[in-house]
Structures are given as structure tokens and as C-alpha cells.
């Protein structure tokens, strides 16, 4: 029997681009349609093969240095004529105000939402952890190694779960400092992407909504649950990051029960 569902719809399901209602419809459809469910399985097989193919080319180590040097020269060379007009046109801020704001790097950019210093701190922490090669203080994929490591370093005991079976292996843990307090950062990987999960005790007992924020190409998801606050940050795409957050929420909830 030929199926009339467009092939792109199966693909969009595979890529997590469908909304919830459409996803459920597709799942229902797969049960009755061998053509589409085989197409979906084939898509999954290709994805697995691509994941295992070591297809990511990381930048050569010296390129980072060369670009920084190039940018420095460029800034010096182009400084006089370009930047005098640049500042006025780019931000239209009075000089004094610009000088004050420029002291902190990220808030320089206008953004639609209310300034949220915590979000900036979390993104900065994430970027720092990747750049300074200080991703983990304790590197281990074993939750029984990572969890006890936090004892005595933070005044709470974060639950640690492994999601390797869902394609998000635990990489390790790190101590971070956010919003004037020490927090536990758990690091997970998705292929070449790293996800920082920051956890600390919350004043909100109940789970509130999980607003998603995007900042400078990084996506963040936040929620409160069982007296803890969770922030997830990564350059992973929103759909897969939402999948990760959903898994963490489920596991944490069943761990608390």
C-alpha cells in the first residue's frame, strides 16, 4: 500500500520539528503504516551512522590564536576613522553611558526582554567553561563518582543522573559561582556539543513554567522543582535541548519520589 504522507513529514518528525499534536499524529500513523515507519527507522539508522562517523572537524589549535592576532591588528589599523562613527551609529549611546555599560561585556547589546543578569552570568559561565578548557573539576561518566565529589563543596546534594542511553552522556561536574552563590554544574555531551546543567537550592518549591531563552546563540531552559532551581545552557538546538531538559525533569522527579 502506498502512503500519501509526504516524506518530509516523517523527516520533520525525525528532526523534532513538529509540534506536539502533529508528533502524536505521526506516532499514531507509524503504527499503521509500514512505509512511513520504515522511512523513519532508516532515518534513525542514518543518524546513528553519522553520529558514529566522527564527522565534526574542530578548528586547528593555532587558528584561534591567529584570529585573535588578526582581530587585534584590524582593531588597531581601523581604529581611528571607523570606530568614531561606529560607536554612535551602532548603539547611539552617550559616551559616558557607553563607557559604564562597556565595563560589563554582555549587556552592551540591546535585547527585547528585561535585563536578566543571571542569564548573562550563566551564559558567561558556560562560555568560560568551554574556552578556558575548564569544563570539569571532576571528569567522570559515573554518577557515583560525580555526586560524592560535591560533598563539602556545596551546601546541598545535587541529584546526578546519567542519560547516556538517551544520547546525552554525563561528562563530569564542576563547581561554579552564579548569583552570588556556589552552584553545582553538571556537564553532559551531545555529540560535539556540551550542555551545562546548573543546580542550586531554590526559594520556589513548585515547578513553574520552563521559559526558554536564547542569548548570543546559546539556548537556556529554566525550571524549579522540589526546592531546587535548574538552568540548562548549551549551543545545542532548542528542540534537542528541550528533550534533554524533559529527561532531566522526569529523572529528577522520579529520584525525588
Amino acid at each position: 500500500m502506498r502512503c500519501t504522507e509526504p516524506r518530509e513529514l516523517v523527516q520533520a518528525y525525525l528532526d523534532r520539528e513538529l509540534d506536539l499534536a502533529r508528533s502524536l499524529e505521526m506516532e499514531q500513523h507509524f503504527r499503521g503504516c509500514a512505509t512511513c515507519s520504515e522511512a523513519y527507522e532508516e532515518g534513525r539508522r542514518l543518524r546513528t551512522a553519522l553520529n558514529e562517523g566522527e564527522l565534526y572537524f574542530s578548528a586547528p589549535a593555532d587558528l584561534h590564536k591567529r584570529i585573535r592576532a588578526g582581530v587585534r591588528d584590524e582593531a588597531r589599523r581601523g581604529a581611528r576613522p571607523r570606530f568614531s562613527s561606529w560607536r554612535a551609529t551602532a548603539f547611539g549611546l552617550p559616551a559616558a553611558l557607553a563607557a559604564v555599560i562597556a565595563l560589563s561585556i554582555v549587556p552592551l547589546f540591546r535585547r527585547p526582554m528585561t535585563p536578566d543578569l543571571l542569564v548573562d552570568e550563566i551564559v558567561s559561565g558556560h562560555v568560560r567553561s568551554l574556552m578556558a578548557e575548564h569544563l570539569t573539576d571532576v571528569a567522570s561518566s559515573d554518577k557515583h563518582t560525580v555526586k560524592p565529589w560535591f560533598d563539602g563543596k556545596v551546601d546541598f546534594s545535587p541529584a546526578v543522573v546519567d542519560l547516556a542511553d538517551h544520547g546525552f552522556p554525563l561528562v563530569g561536574g564542576r563547581l561554579d559561582y552564579l548569583g552570588n552563590r556556589s552552584v553545582a554544574a553538571l556537564i553532559y555531551a551531545r555529540q560535539k556539543h556540551f550542555i551545562n546543567l546548573c543546580v542550586w537550592p531554590s526559594s520556589h518549591e513548585e515547578t513553574r513554567g520552563a521559559p526558554e531563552v536564547s542569548r548570543h546563540g546559546f539556548n537556556l531552559i529554566h525550571w524549579d522543582s522540589s526546592g531546587m532551581t535548574y538552568w540548562v545552557v548549551s549551543d545545542l538546538n532548542p528542540a534537542e535541548l528541550e528533550e534533554f531538559a524533559g529527561l532531566i525533569r522526569d529523572r529528577m522527579a522520579s529520584a525525588a519520589r
Partner: protein, 175 residues
Amino acid sequence: MREANQRANFEAIVLPHLDAAYNLARWLLRDEHDARDVVQDAYLRAFRFFDSFRGGDSRGWLLTIVRNACYTWLRKARPAELQVSFDEESHGRGGGGSNPEENLLRNANAQSLKDALERLPVRLREAIVLREVEGLSYAEIAAVADIPIGTVMSRLSRSRERLQEFLRVSNGKEV
């Protein structure tokens, strides 16, 4: 002082996406040295146009610049690659518009999935690399490649058909 701030902002916001930039350039150009040169140039360009960046998705912003730099470079150095892919794409859908035999021939020399991916026409390769290797969403790919989401979907679909075909053939060989 102001230049120093500008540079610090740039380094904090754009430099972290260097791997993404290099990965895209390396896949589009299929050459380590070309990718390195083009990425370095693209970064300088990005720095010069940094005032046009108004916050938001800095990775997408950078990747757009890198992608354009790659195409400019290809147009100058290897125009045939763009020409061929355009012809292949202008055909309808279903196996990229070509017959299965032709696909087999095209992939006959591919040793691995990596080879097969490298043999895809550049625009199909771009779509699948951004999705499967870099992990971008349809909307993000559409923005970087400056195409409608429908085109993203059809390019992905055609890339996948060809790669799946390669997997079928290479698995068949092994058995």
C-alpha cells in the same frame, strides 16, 4: 579603550563559535588549508561588520558570514562545483532527480560515509552538515543559508536519500 572593548566583546561573543565556523567551512570547501584561510578572513570580516550584529544568535550570524565567504571563494577558485550542484538541484525530487544507477556510480568510490557526504553537491552537503553534524534547527539553517524552510526540508530529504542509498549499498557489499 573603545577598540579594546569592541575587541573584548567580539572575542567573548563570536570567538566561541570557532569550531562551528571551521566545521562548516571544512565541509563546504573539503580542504583543510582552504577552510583555515577562509575562516580567518571571515572572522576579520565579521569583526569589521560587528556593529551590524544586534544581539541574538551570534553563531547563526557568524555562520552566515562564513558560508558566504566559502561560496565567494568557491565561485573564484572552483566554479565547477557550484555549477554541477545547481544542475543537480534544479531537477525534481526523488533520488535527487537522477536515477538510482547514477547514484550508485556517484558513490561507487566512496569508502566511508564521510566520503559519501563529501561527494554530495555542495548545497545538499551544507544542509545535512548543518542539521546532523552542527545540530541546527530548520529555522536556523534557513537563516544561515538564506533559503525558505521548505527548501531546507527538500535539500535535507535529498541528502538523506543519497546517504541512505550509500549505506544500503555498502552494507550489501559487506554481507
